[in-house]
Symmetry: C2
Subunit: 377 residues, 2 copies
């Protein structure tokens, strides 16, 4: 069987810009958010980015139970109805994959080959985790909370259920939710039906889907997705720094119309409004800057209020595109903690926490648009 000899482990470094068949298998299953969907404050169902490590599990809501156990006085078993009868919170939260932008690295770590659009914002409805753990009685020495999904597979040579942990301090924040609805509807299968974790501000790997258990422990969790994966490391074997909260990023709706294959954009000469969204999991977005000359000069964009402290902010600007020619548009976000997007991506082994500025190629031209298009193809 041919396939097995072609397969290389996740994390293998690929020197060519071309994408392997294994990466393609992930890319046709998972998807990012088409950038024109940045026009929506709340991403419509089906446009939100999606990364699924293993398979989407089949779950029967009627018999579903969440086990809340471990280092607790009174372990609990909760049905979906039990969870829904608790106080509910609805919160707009922006989620971004930790590996967003990975496919632009060179060499490229073998994994899901995101370009830069693995993001989305939804209104999640659920119940806060902290009161539930307080009711169950945290035992002396409780240190971490482990969240285990129903999705199972092999990664790093280990047969595992997907699971991640949070420190007790991070897990007990008010905004950490066990959610059962997205944009006012039950979770669809691919977003974690019937129950998932939402940890506002953190990269996507944190928000464990298809929750089967919540387990309080008195020691650091050493599961694969926590201790091996999701670290920022530049040298194999280094301890590295765990991936946690999202770095700032701004994206724009690419102006004009695209060429089908190259996705090069075409606009007529004019003053064009340009819009997009910006977010950070570290601090509120403080400024967004726009460039139409590939990052040589910048001007401040206008920023609107966010729907919540954990949701992206809309930004708008005007682009003077009256002169025909080729342009490279860029946008760059800075947060209130002083984090700013880099112009060039620094490299790391897993291809995580990439937040280099977006670059969009646009051809301004009329009446030569057709000719330019023909040249491009």
């Amino acid at each position: 069987m041919e396939r097995i000899s072609q397969s290389r482990p996740a994390g293998t470094l690929i020197e060519t810009p071309d994408i392997t068949q294994d990466e393609l298998q992930l890319a046709v299953r998972n998807h990012s958010m088409p950038l024109e969907a940045l026009r929506y404050a709340i991403t419509p169902p089906g446009l939100h980015y999606l990364l699924i490590h293993f398979d989407i599990p089949a779950v029967d809501a009627a018999t579903y139970e969440l086990a809340v156990g471990g280092h607790l006085e009174k372990p609990l078993h909760l049905s979906l109805e039990d969870l829904k009868s608790r106080p509910a919170t609805t919160l707009a939260v922006t989620l971004e994959c930790a590996g967003n932008g990975r496919a632009r690295l060179s060499p490229r770590p073998l994994s899901q080959p995101w370009l830069g659009e693995a993001v989305g914002t939804a209104e999640w409805t659920g119940t806060s985790l902290a009161p539930l753990l307080h009711e169950a009685g945290l035992k002396e020495g409780a240190a971490e909370v482990v969240f285990t999904g129903l999705d199972r597979g092999v990664q790093g040579g280990i047969d595992q259920f997907y699971e991640r942990s949070l420190s007790l301090e991070d897990a007990m924040r008010d905004e950490v939710l066990l959610v059962y609805a997205i944009n006012g509807l039950p979770l669809p299968p691919q977003h974690g039906f019937p129950l998932r974790l939402i940890v506002p501000g953190w990269y996507g790997m944190t928000h464990v889907k298809w929750l089967r258990s919540v387990t309080v422990t008195d020691r650091a969790f050493d599961g694969y997705q926590q201790a091996a994966a999701y670290h920022y490391r530049t040298v194999e074997g280094d301890l590295g720094v765990p991936v946690t909260r999202m770095l700032p990023r701004a994206l724009m709706v690419p102006p004009g119309v695209p060429d089908f294959m190259s996705r090069t954009r075409f606009v007529p000469p004019s003053i064009h409004p340009v819009e997009g969204r910006a977010w950070s999991g570290r601090a509120p977005i403080a400024s967004v800057d726009f460039s139409s000359d590939g990052g040589r000069s910048w001007s401040a964009a206008d920023i609107e209020e966010a729907l919540s402290p954990y949701a992206w902010r809309r930004w708008t600007t005007l682009w003077d595109a009256t002169k025909p020619g080729e342009y490279e548009l860029c946008v760059r976000a800075t947060d209130a903690a002083g984090n700013i997007q880099p112009l060039e991506q620094s490299w790391n082994l897993e291809g995580v926490q990439n937040n280099a500025v977006q670059r969009v190629r646009v051809v301004v031209g009329e009446p030569d648009v057709e000719q330019i298009a023909a040249d491009t193809r």
Copy 2:
């Protein structure tokens, strides 16, 4: 700017199995249906396959109007409310992209690099086109109906709105619908909000999204998507055969659990139920056959009734996987018109109408699953 020199026209033939950056740009936007979603008779929102040539247009439903004109006695302008007040039909319809399987061809035509899962089934609600055209009064000589979308872009060097035509005979079939709802909800933006065409039995390019106009003509439509694209041709310059109705295809839910990167499957030794769906746009599915030895021997699967004449049929079988080892599972559909899936794909220039049998690699093993997994990565 680097990107433009890397771009090659859609349709360029690529000799290597590796995927170009341009193909990746399409693959991260569009997505197929994860195969485990074959368990659902009606594909949940967000899991249905999606191919968008240009950008998703922003449409205001309040001011939206469909223009019905051309070779008609009384051209019409219809609001969304006008369309919803007409007699409504809800129909389960399986849609498959004409290019499904393209990325498995060698050499590979440069376009959306589908592997084999670009399919989905939804319950579409809308109003039949034929009565509407009758009311508008078809003029003598009416020959074709052209469907034009609001989505615009450049393809084949041509600045165009996406548009396709049907012969008058095909357009006037009862089941051809102008639809405004999917699975009981308004169309989401990516599925054609507020109105799209559904032509049951035909490949996906036919079902024009974001309809702006329906135009009756007295001659053959020669637009790019009709006359240039979507033809089965093996030699450049040949007239070719237009792509129309779907060829038969069966797919299975891959058994067991996957390795994250290679998607190789692992199951413990046992008798395993295997299930999937099969469809054809040419005739009802007559039989589905299953093989666990790469297609050397076959056994008939059980087939269930379809939700409609235009929806896939569920099939089930039992797989004797009691003996550890490596297996290649295959499934093969035959329709009542005698069309049968080929074991090996015949090649064509655009990579359309590929319906070679699915092949799924599975490792049966216990207690060595972990070791096998380690070897695989």
